[in-house]
C-alpha cells in the first residue's frame, strides 16, 4: 500500500470540502474494509483519505420515527444494525441478513454509508434495501438530496453520487404490513460474498400477493429489479407452479454475469429456484414493522 494523507474532519461541511477539492485525489473512508482491500491490491491509490469517523454521534444513530420510518446514520456499523432493537422491531429482514454478512470483524467496523456508496454489486444490503424501498440522504457541495437505494448504484463500483457527495443517512420507510426476506446464496464459505442475493418484500392478504418488490444482487453489475416477476406475482395467489413460472421468467429476463462465485448459467439456474424460496420465506415471516 502506498502512503497517503489522512484527514479526520469533525464536521460534515469540512468533509465535503476536503472531498470536493480539485487539488487532491481524496476518497472518503467509513469503516475502510472494502477500501483497504482495494488499496492493498494496488487498484486504488488515493493521495488522501478523508476518515469520517469523527463527524459526530448523529451519524451513528438509529432512530425509529413516530411514523414508523427508520433513520439510520451513515456511520452506523453492520454490528450496530445487527444488534439494534429498533431495527429488529421495524425491519427484521435487515437483522436477519446481518449474521451472514461477511464476518464479525468486518461487521464491527464496516458502515452503512460505506457499504452503499462502495457500489459493489456483491454486497447484500443494496438488494435488500432496494426491496424495502429505502432511500439515502446525500450531502454534497450543491446541498442535500434524496436518492432511492434502487437507483443509487449504476454499475461496478459506480454510483450516482457526485464528487464530494456523501451519504449521510439511510431511511427505511415504515414496513408495517410488509413481509420481507433476503436469501443469500453462497457457493464457497458461508461468509463469502453471495453468488446470488434475492430480496423480496411484499404485502399479502392471506395467500394473495397485493404488492411486491423483488430485487437480486451479485448476479449483474448492480442490484436489479425483477419487474416481470413482480407483475406475475401481483394480485395472485401464491403456489408452487406460479413461483416456478415467476422464477423462470425472472431468470430469462436477466443477462447474468459470471464470477468466481458461479458461472452466469449457474446463477440463472439459482434464480429460478431462489426467487420462489425468497417469496415463500417472506410470506412465512410475520408482518414486519408491526409497531402496535
Amino acid at each position: 500500500m502506498t502512503p497517503f494523507d489522512l484527514h479526520t474532519p469533525s464536521s460534515l461541511g469540512d468533509a465535503v470540502a476536503l472531498l470536493s477539492s480539485d487539488d487532491t485525489d481524496a476518497r472518503p473512508m467509513g469503516g475502510g474494509t472494502a477500501l483497504m482491500l482495494m488499496m492493498k491490491a494496488g487498484v486504488l491509490r488515493p493521495q488522501a483519505l478523508v476518515c469520517l469517523r469523527s463527524l459526530g454521534a448523529g451519524f451513528r444513530q438509529i432512530e425509529l420515527q413516530a411514523n414508523g420510518d427508520l433513520h439510520i446514520g451513515a456511520l452506523v456499523t453492520m454490528s450496530m444494525l445487527e444488534h439494534s432493537a429498533e431495527v429488529r422491531r421495524a425491519a427484521p429482514a435487515i437483522s436477519r441478513t446481518m449474521t451472514r454478512l461477511s464476518n464479525v470483524r468486518v461487521r464491527n467496523v464496516a458502515t452503512v454509508g460505506g457499504n452503499l456508496a462502495h457500489g459493489d454489486p456483491h454486497m447484500d444490503l443494496p438488494a435488500l434495501l432496494s426491496a424495502l424501498d429505502a432511500h439515502v440522504i446525500a450531502s454534497g457541495p450543491d446541498g442535500e438530496r434524496c436518492i432511492g437505494v434502487d437507483s443509487l448504484i449504476t454499475g461496478y463500483y459506480e454510483t450516482v453520487l457526485g464528487k464530494g457527495e456523501l451519504i449521510t443517512k439511510l431511511v427505511v420507510p415504515c414496513q408495517t404490513g410488509m413481509r420481507s426476506a433476503y436469501m443469500k446464496v453462497t457457493t464457497r464459505s458461508a461468509d463469502d460474498w453471495p453468488a446470488l442475493g434475492v430480496a423480496a418484500s411484499l404485502r399479502a392478504e392471506g395467500n394473495r400477493v397485493e404488492t411486491c418488490r423483488l430485487f437480486i444482487g451479485a448476479a449483474t453489475d448492480r442490484p436489479t429489479r425483477l419487474t416481470t416477476a413482480e407483475a406475475m406475482m401481483t394480485g395472485q395467489n401464491v403456489d408452487a407452479a406460479l413461483l416456478s413460472r415467476a422464477g423462470d421468467a425472472a431468470a430469462d429476463a436477466i443477462a447474468f454475469i459470471g464470477d468466481a462465485q458461479g458461472s452466469a448459467a449457474y446463477k440463472k439456474a439459482l434464480l429460478r429456484i431462489y426467487l420462489g424460496r425468497a417469496i415463500t420465506a417472506a410470506m412465512a415471516n410475520a408482518t414486519d414493522g408491526d409497531l402496535s
Binding site: M1, T2, P3, L37, K40, A41, G42, R100, N103, V185, T187, R188, S189, A190, D191, D192, A255, F256, A260, G262, S263, A264, A265, Y266, K268, A269, L270, I273, Y274
Partner: protein
C-alpha cells in the same frame, strides 16, 4: 511423598497447553513482530510472465526514489553467492531469477528501504522486459510437452534415489518413482473384474494466518536468521552451503508459528533474507503479505489414474497407480512427496500385484511443496473414490469391502514393509460403530437427498530422520528443554514437556521450553509429516532419562536414596550450595532400509504407520447442488496418546481444514496467472462452515516402538474427508465427481448432466 503424587502420569493426560496463556493474552512472541535497530524492509518485484527470458530489468527509477536504500537483482546476489540456487531435493531455485523466469509471481528484484511503504512504492517503478516463451501448466501435458521448464536437472545430491537424474535434459520429470510388486498383467488377466478411473486434485494454499517472514541479521563474521520456519536445522545447513561457511557461523532462530501446515518447511525466504542482509550489511526483513504466500508455495495439484483387478468375492488382486504431481517451477520437496506418498498410492489394502508410477513434474506454476498429509490426501481422494466405485459395481457394502481387503497386522504392504502396530481394522470398526453403519440410513425425500460415505488412508512416516534433544536440570530441581521441534499450533511444546516431566518425575510446572535457536538447541530434521511426537518424543524421553540416570547416580555417589531425595537436595549436598547442572542428551534416529531402485520395495520404509479414516453424513439440495455436512467423524490410530485433548483438536483441525480443499478452495489460474490470490477472493472454511456434528475418536492401540507407545496424528484426519464426501454424494444422488473441489455448481452440473439436461452457457 507429595512430590510423586504431583508427578505421576503426566503422559496420557489432557493438561492445558503450556503456551496458551501467553497466546491468548497477546504476550507470545512471533518472528512477525520482530523489529531490529537499523532494519531494512525488503519488497519483492515479481514476474508478470509465466515463462520467459529476462531481456532487461530497469531499476534506475526505483534506485533514484527518495528513501530507497538499494535495489537488488540476481546480479548483486551472484557477487556474494556465485551459484545462488537452493532447495532440499534439487538445487534449482534461484534466490532471485537469473536470466529466466518460470512462473508468474517469481521474485525478480528486491527494493530495500527503512520504510516498507517506500520500498513497496519503488517496486512499482521497476520495469522488466521479457522474451516470452511458451509455457506449460498441466502436469500431464508437461510429461510430453515441448516446453521444458529447466534446461538441466540439478539434484541436490543428498538423496541417493535422485542421483540418476543429474544432468538429465529435455524433461520436466524431476523424479520418476516406481514400485513393482508381482506381475500386474498376470494379475489383471486372473481378475474377474477390472476397473479404471482417473481423479484430479486442484491446487490449494496452506493459508497460515502468520504469513512467512525471515529476518537476516549480520553479526560480526556470522549471520543470524530469524525465521518463521518449521525447520531451523535444515535452514542453517542450506544457508551455510550457499555461503560456503561453517554451520557455526549461521544461527537460525525460530519461534512460535502462526500456523505452518507444511508451508514453512525446508527453505523458503531465508536464502533471500541472508543474501540481502549480507549485501546491505544491515538487518533485512523479508515479510510476505498474505497475498504473496500464494506465489511462494502451494500443495500439489495432481492427476491419478488407478486401475484395479478384483475377484468375484471382492478381493482386490492387482492394481496399477499412475500419479502426476504438479510441482510448479521449482522442485522444493516435491520429489520426496512423489516417492514417500508414492509408496502408499495403492492404499491400505492387501494386493498381490501392484505397480506404481509416481512422477514429480515441473510446470510454469508457483512451486508446490509439502502440505498437511505430504501428498497422501491427493492419493486417498483417488483410491478411496475408486474403492467405493468398485464396491458399488460389485454390489458390496463399502465398509465390508474395505474390511475384506484391509492390510492385517503383520501382512506385507506393497512396498514389502510389514504392517506393525497399524490399527486399520480397529479404525474401520470404530468408524462403522460411530456411523451406525449397520443401521439403514435415511436417504431423504423430495428435493433434499441424503447420503453417507467413508474413506480411509495410511501414511508412512518420513524416514530415515534424526532428532536430538537436551534436558538441563538446574539446582532448584527445575528443567529446561532444548529441542528444535517448532510449536506452530500443534501442541508439541506441551507434549515434549509432559514426556520430560514424566521421565524426570518432576511436576510439569517445573519444565520450560527454549525456543529453537541453532546456536543453542540441537539438530532436528524438522517439524513435518507428523514426525515430532514419535521422533522428538523419543529423543526427549532419552534425554530426560539420561538426566534422570545422572541424578540417580549422583544420589548414589552422595549416599542418598535415589528418587526419594528431592533434586535440589542432591545439588546442594554435592556443591554446598544451590549450583550446577545435570544435562541429559538424547538422540533418536528412525530405522530404514534403502529402497531397491528397480522395484521400489524395502523391508522397512517407515518406523510407524499412521492410519486415519473419515465418515460423513450429508444432505444435498438437488435444486442447487448445495451440500450440507450433517456429521463429520474422524477416527485415527495415534498409538497411546500423550495428550488426548490436543489430539482431539488435531483431529478436528485437520478435518475442518480438509473441508476447504474438499468443498471450496481452488487456486484459479488463467494462462498461469492466479486470479484469486487473496483471502477476499480465495475462501477457506470459517465458523459457519464447521459441521454441527464434528467428532473425533482414537482407537485403543499402542505403537510399541514409540515414546510411551505414541505416534504422530497431525495429518491423520486430513486423509479421507474429500473422498468420504464424494462417496456420500454418490449414495445420495447417483453421481460421481472425479475432480475436486465439490462445489455446488460442480454438483449441480453433474446432476443436470445425469438427467440428460446439461446446463448450457448463455
Amino acid at each position: 511423598m507429595s512430590r510423586d503424587q504431583h508427578t505421576l502420569d503426566q503422559v496420557g493426560r489432557s493438561v492445558p497447553r503450556v503456551e496458551s496463556y501467553a497466546k491468548v493474552t497477546g504476550q507470545a512472541e512471533y518472528i512477525h513482530n520482530l523489529r531490529l535497530p537499523g532494519m531494512l524492509h525488503a519488497k519483492i518485484f515479481r514476474s508478470r510472465v509465466a515463462h520467459g527470458k529476462i531481456v532487461r530489468i530497469d531499476t534506475q527509477t526505483a534506485r533514484d526514489f527518495p528513501g530507497v536504500h538499494a535495489v537488488i537483482t540476481a546480479e548483486e546476489v551472484m557477487r556474494l553467492i556465485p551459484s545462488p540456487y537452493f532447495g532440499p531435493a534439487f538445487h534449482d531455485q534461484p534466490i532471485l531469477a537469473i536470466g529466466k523466469v518460470r512462473y508468474i509471481g517469481e521474485p525478480v528484484a528486491v527494493v530495500l528501504a527503512t520504510d516498507p511503504h517506500i520500498a513497496e512504492e519503488a517496486v512499482g517503478m521497476i520495469d522488466a522486459e521479457y522474451d516470452e516463451l511458451p509455457a506449460v501448466f498441466d502436469e500431464v501435458d508437461a510429461m510430453t510437452s515441448q516446453v521444458i521448464v529447466h534446461d538441466e536437472l540439478r539434484p541436490a545430491g543428498t538423496f541417493p534415489d535422485l542421483k540418476h537424474l543429474k544432468g538429465r535434459k529435455n524433461t520436466n520429470v524431476a523424479l520418476d518413482f516406481k514400485l513393482r510388486r508381482g506381475d500386474v498383467d498376470q494379475g489383471f488377466a486372473e481378475s474377474d473384474h477390472v476397473f479404471e478411473h482417473t481423479f484430479k486434485v486442484q491446487p490449494v494454499m496452506h493459508t497460515p494466518l502468520e504469513p512467512m517472514v525471515s529476518v537476516g541479521e549480520p553479526d560480526g563474521d556470522s549471520l543470524i536468521i530469524h525465521s518463521s520456519t518449521q525447520m531451523p536445522s535444515f535452514v542453517r545447513i542450506e544457508i551455510a552451503r550457499l555461503l560456503g561457511w561453517d554451520e557455526g557461523r549461521v544461527r537460525v532462530k525460530s519461534g512460535l508459528l502462526g500456523g505452518g501446515f507444511g508451508a514453512k518447511v525446508y527453505i523458503k525466504l531465508e536464502a533471500l533474507a541472508a543474501a540481502l542482509a549480507l549485501l546491505a550489511r544491515r538487518p533485512v526483513r523479508v515479510a510476505l503479505t498474505m497475498e504473496e504466500q500464494f506465489y511462494t508455495i502451494t500443495n500439489h495439484a495432481a492427476t491419478m489414474r488407478i486401475k484395479s483387478g478384483v475377484m468375484r468375492d471382492g478381493r482386490i488382486h492387482a492394481r496399477t497407480c499412475e500419479i502426476w504431481w504438479n510441482g510448479g517451477a521449482y522442485a522444493d520437496i516435491g520429489p520426496r512427496i512423489t516417492q514417500k506418498s508414492g509408496f502408499t498410492a495403492a492404499g491400505p489394502y492387501h494386493i498381490q500385484h501392484v505397480h506404481i508410477d509416481s512422477y514429480a513434474i515441473y510446470t510454469n506454476l508457483p512451486p508446490a511443496g509439502a502440505m498437511r498429509g505430504f501428498g497422501v490426501p491427493q492419493l486417498v481422494w483417488g483410491y478411496e473414490s475408486h474403492t467405493d466405485l468398485i464396491a458399488r459395481e460389485l454390489g458390496m457394502d463399502p465398509l465390508a469391502f474395505r474390511r475384506l481387503n484391509a492390510l492385517k497386522e503383520g501382512q506385507e504392504h506393497a512396498t514389502g514393509t510389514p504392517m506393525r502396530d497399524t490399527a486399520i481394522d480397529l479404525v474401520l470398526e470404530e468408524l462403522g460403530k460411530r456411523m451406525a453403519w449397520d443401521v439403514p440410513f435415511e436417504r431423504g425425500a423430495g428435493k433434499v437427498k441424503r447420503g453417507r460415505g467413508i474413506a480411509i488412508g495410511i501414511k508412512a512416516s518420513i524416514s530415515p530422520t534424526t532428532s536430538f534433544a537436551m534436558v538441563n536440570v538446574t539446582a532448584d530441581g527445575s528443567a529446561t528443554l532444548y529441542f528444535n521441534t517448532i510449536d506452530m499450533g500443534q501442541g508439541s511444546d506441551t507434549a515434549m514437556s509432559q514426556i520430560a516431566a514424566q521421565t524426570l518425575q518432576i511436576p510439569l510446572s517445573k519444565v520450560k521450553v527454549v525456543r529453537a535457536d541453532t546456536a543453542v538447541t540441537p539438530y532436528d530434521m524438522g517439524t513435518l509429516g507428523s514426525r515430532s511426537t514419535f521422533h522428538m518424543g523419543h529423543a526427549m524421553q532419552l534425554a530426560a532419562q539420561d538426566a534422570r540416570d545422572k541424578l540417580d547416580a549422583l544420589a548414589e555417589e552422595l549416599g542418598l536414596p535415589a528418587r526419594e531425595t528431592p533434586i535440589e537436595a542432591l545439588f546442594h549436598k554435592k556443591f554446598g550450595m544451590s549450583a550446577g547442572n545435570v544435562i541429559g542428551v538424547g538422540n533418536y534416529t528412525s530405522s530404514y532400509a534403502p529402497v531397491d531402485p528397480e522395484t521400489g520395495t524395502s523391508a522397512n520404509i517407515t518406523p510407524n504407520w499412521m492410519v486415519g479414516a473419515s465418515g460423513v453424513e450429508i444432505e444435498v439440495d438437488t435444486e442447487t447442488g448445495h451440500i450440507n455436512i450433517l456429521r463429520l467423524v474422524s477416527v485415527a490410530d495415534a498409538g497411546s496418546v500423550i495428550n488426548p485433548g490436543i489430539v482431539a483438536t488435531q483431529l478436528s483441525g485437520a478435518a475442518i481444514m480438509s473441508l476447504g480443499g474438499a468443498l471450496l478452495e481452488h487456486m484459479q489460474y488463467t494462462d498461469g496467472e492466479l486470479t484469486n490470490g487473496s483471502l477476499a477472493y480465495y475462501k477457506i472454511p470459517a465458523f459457519h462452515d464447521v459441521p454441527h456434528n464434528l467428532e473425533g475418536a482414537i482407537v485403543e492401540s499402542r505403537q510399541s516402538s514409540g515414546p510411551f507407545g505414541a505416534k504422530g496424528v497431525g495429518e491423520s484426519a486430513s486423509f479421507g474427508v474429500a473422498p468420504a464426501i464424494a462417496n456420500a454424494l454418490e449414495q445420495a444422488l447417483d453421481i460421481r465427481i472425479m475432480a475436486l473441489p465439490l462445489t455446488p455448481e460442480v454438483i449441480y452440473r453433474a446432476l443436470r448432466e445425469s438427467e440428460g439436461n446439461a446446463l448450457v452457457e448463455d
